[in-house]
Symmetry: C2
Subunit: 525 residues, 2 copies
């Protein structure tokens, strides 16, 4: 499988005419072949026109047909074999086992959405039968289903080159909903993107779907991405990345003649509350678990525990000491890109230079070109609450411990937090009352609340919420991981008194698609 350095527009592979993009091996600094010539407005438009043309056909596919397409993508990705893992390792510096796991997750995710498509709950079928005899006015027959929004723009993320990239969660859920997808590939892993993009392209062809169901564009800077979001055919956006990047796309989407929804997953520092009994009874284990979570993937997870909150005292001192010792022994891992490494160093320096923050420990520097030197800092609740800068995400393996005078101050810290993807409680039986006091606040702040675990590791399942209030995401009403993510790309349509022949099959009498239905407000058995 030779990489050609091409964008994929419908069934074609094509070169752009703007700045070339080359991946860099972050462990060695070596530039990787081939170069990818970035696209221009012309390629954006071509991909979007094809997507729009494909939409009516694609959204009309039967449940089984669409599910089979998702499964074919998974098989095609697996069929790439080791070449995919090798290229992803070279482009990201991530270890083989991690990438193999991520490939498993990516394909599992596609198959999960296939099962979701088949189950048909996403259609949200509702039928209120006609009441011709009702007084004073008869009621017409009313039926509702959900339809896809239209072509979706997806932005590949740097930190999950498979699971949040070309065939990642956004693409899988948008395709599952029946939306054609135009991906803007991440410039850090264009080769991985091309390989996966070609797998999707093959699946489109094998399933006999219109070519515009999928395209893959490249482009450095923000020009291509902004043009994509501004294109009138695009009807929704999926993005995982920085707060600055996400809010820029939100602004573009709102400034369109027809504003569209943006699902941006942006920024979270994932507070971990160490409640007193838990801290007392198992401080050293907590320190160990915490540092393991902090270092996972060189800290480059959206759910990295960037904040630890506890009541000051001897137990917390012991925790900090143990965690500091573990940080000092944390081998530096290679970060994803030179840019991420630079931003991380700047973030750590900002913390270190903050007069109200004390450095606890720094890890060894490591020998790769772009090592993530772990870090642990501490500050008081009062200083934390006074300085909004301390809530800014430092993307990487650095965390800040907040020392509170008592549980009341811990509560105030919780109330002062920005929106988060997760909030974690470490608690023992004696902490239940304290936890009950925190929970209402944490529910208002986070999309997922964990007990006695660590926020890294996001299960792909039905109950998962990988979302949360701004700035964790641009839209707290949804999740970007798990089966409920399909709902982001759907809207309801009501059919009033349509003859059976004109009704979508899912809504016809006799329930030919055998989907769950709400009849007159009651869930059908």
């Amino acid at each position: 499988m030779t990489l050609e350095g091409k964008m994929l527009i419908g069934r074609e592979a094509t070169s752009g005419s703007s700045q070339p993009i080359s991946a860099v091996n972050p462990a060695t600094g070596e530039r990787l072949e081939p170069a990818y010539l970035g696209g221009t407005q012309a390629e954006v438009e071509r991909a979007c026109v094809l997507a729009d043309e494909a939409f009516d056909h694609f959204r009309d596919t039967a449940l089984d047909e669409r599910a089979a397409f998702l499964e074919t993508i998974a098989s095609e990705i697996e069929a790439i074999g080791d070449a995919l893992i090798e290229r992803a390792m070279a482009e990201t510096g991530l270890p083989q086992a991690r990438l193999e796991g991520e490939r498993g997750r990516t394909c599992g995710q596609l198959r999960l959405f296939a099962s979701v498509v088949r189950a048909g709950e996403w259609l949200d079928v509702r039928i209120d039968p006609a009441l011709p005899e009702r007084e004073p006015m008869p009621r017409a027959d009313l039926r509702q289903r959900h339809i896809p929004l239209g072509p979706v723009a997806v932005f590949g993320a740097s930190n999950f080159p498979l699971a949040f990239s070309v065939a990642g969660g956004d693409t899988a859920s948008a395709l599952a909903a029946g939306c054609p997808v135009v991906v803007k590939g991440h410039s850090a892993h264009p080769g991985t993107s091309e390989l996966v993009g070609r797998a999707i392209q093959r699946a489109v062809a094998k399933c006999g779907l219109p070519e515009g169901v999928f395209s893959l564009l490249f482009g450095s800077g923000s020009e291509i991405g902004q043009a994509l979001v501004a294109d009138p055919r695009i009807q929704a956006v999926g993005f995982t990345g920085s707060r600055r990047g996400g809010t820029a796309l939100m602004a573009t989407a709102q400034a369109r003649p027809q504003p569209i929804p943006v699902y941006a997953e942006m920024s979270s520092i994932n507070p971990v509350f160490l409640l007193p009994e838990a801290l007392r009874s198992r401080g050293p284990q907590l320190a160990e678990g915490f540092v393991a979570s902090l270092n996972m993937g060189a800290g480059q997870f959206c759910t990295n525990p960037g904040l630890v909150i506890a009541v000051a005292g001897a137990e917390l001192d012991a925790f900090i000491e143990a965690a500091g010792a573990a940080v000092r022994q944390s081998a530096a891992q290679t970060m994803l890109t030179p840019g991420i490494h630079r931003a991380y160093q700047q973030g750590v320096e900002r913390l270190a230079a903050n007069p109200w923050v004390k450095e606890v420990a720094r890890g060894p520097l490591g020998e790769s070109a772009h090592p993530c030197q772990a870090g642990l800092f501490v500050t008081s609740a009062e200083d934390f609450l006074a300085d909004p800068e301390l809530q800014e995400e430092v993307f990487g393996a650095t965390s800040l411990v907040i020392e509170c005078a008592d549980l009341a101050e811990m509560q105030r810290v919780a109330a002062g937090l920005e929106g988060q993807l997760t909030a974690t409680l470490q608690l023992d039986d004696g902490d239940l009352e304290a936890a009950k006091g925190l929970l209402p606040t944490l529910e208002r702040k986070a999309g997922r609340i964990l007990a006695n675990g660590w926020p890294t590791g996001v299960e792909v399942c039905h109950a998962m919420v990988h979302g949360g209030p701004f700035p964790a995401t641009s839209d707290s009403r949804t999740t970007s991981v798990g089966s409920a993510a399909i709902q982001r790309f759907l809207r309801p349509v009501c059919y009033q008194a349509l003859p059976q022949e004109l009704l979508p099959e899912a809504l016809r009498d006799g329930n030919p698609w055998a989907v769950s239905r709400l009849i007159d407000g009651k869930r059908e058995a």
Copy 2:
């Protein structure tokens, strides 16, 4: 029940200190007592602080308790008796029967949401049980439910002084979701608003809920409304009104440090397609039904049929002639406010002055102070497609007929439409193929598609969609009428490995709330 001219903030009745607002009887031009002194930033803040304080208590109410509250509001509104109808008639010029019907709908809507709250589908409970033995990694216990977003700002609409106002659909669905509500009452019917607001206030007290669950503010101009949307405690907005008003609120909501969702129902011209066979076989009845729908409520319905699209020919000529004759005999009804009347006259004059538009008929002028003189105009598909101004809503009983050369041109007109609340097909058996050709386009344009009916008259039920792509609404993913409207004010939260004592009751083992649940992706029987 004496009107005091007061705003209602929590349990208090209070006067503002800005411009006084007086309702005007639109039939007579007479100013109605009492005057309402508008609020200032101080009252906005007080109402929002109370709402925020009430939120955690209110959202924690059991299903029955919250449902009983909605039912109590309905009973309290009914208990006002004739005084409510009389005041609403004086403030709006709407006839008694219409307002009595609207009161029934308003109370029925509150009771529908009570039943929706009790059924608990809105919680969207999902449970993925722990898999401790799974390889390579165990799965934690993951449970999801929906929680309310927080305090909601609701803007009363002028055209439904009961059903889309203080205790209308937005308020009912937000309260059902567990969100405290701060209403900005419409300046055209402050007395009606005060009466209904006091009914809600009494219901809050009777049900022992915190006072901040409901407040009612007044204010002329946009100042109070903008301040309300900008208040950091407000977490969502419900609005029905003009496109200009809605987009201004959208901009304010997006410019906040924490952007929030705005559900604005704004502008729709509700195209009606007369397919050839239907036009041939029952043109005169169609003309009659169309003009009746056009005149309903002096055309002041969001779903008023402002556009009729058909293939040119003798049958369409006959339809236009019959519809024109009916328009000429349409008695002018009083419009809601002097401002709406003025805007209507300007809209009609703009149509009349358009060189590509021909006047078919105007109704009699009538004798009230603000009569809606019905109007019918005609233009060609080509001219319609060339002039975006012809898609602007003229709020009132005026409609535009589009003559198409053939079905292909009808299809182009459909494709050229902006987003709509509704699209209607008049069809006979011989029109099925033509209808099939139009449907995919109409699904992309409208929230509700009707066959052989008229768009006015929106059923409050489970399958209803009163929504649609921009500019019909600001958010096509929802509806503002019907039980699904509750979903606008909810967001999912996931609980990972929480002990039973900390889980919300709805998520506990044994399903103590007896709600519908998705277990491992399967709907529980």
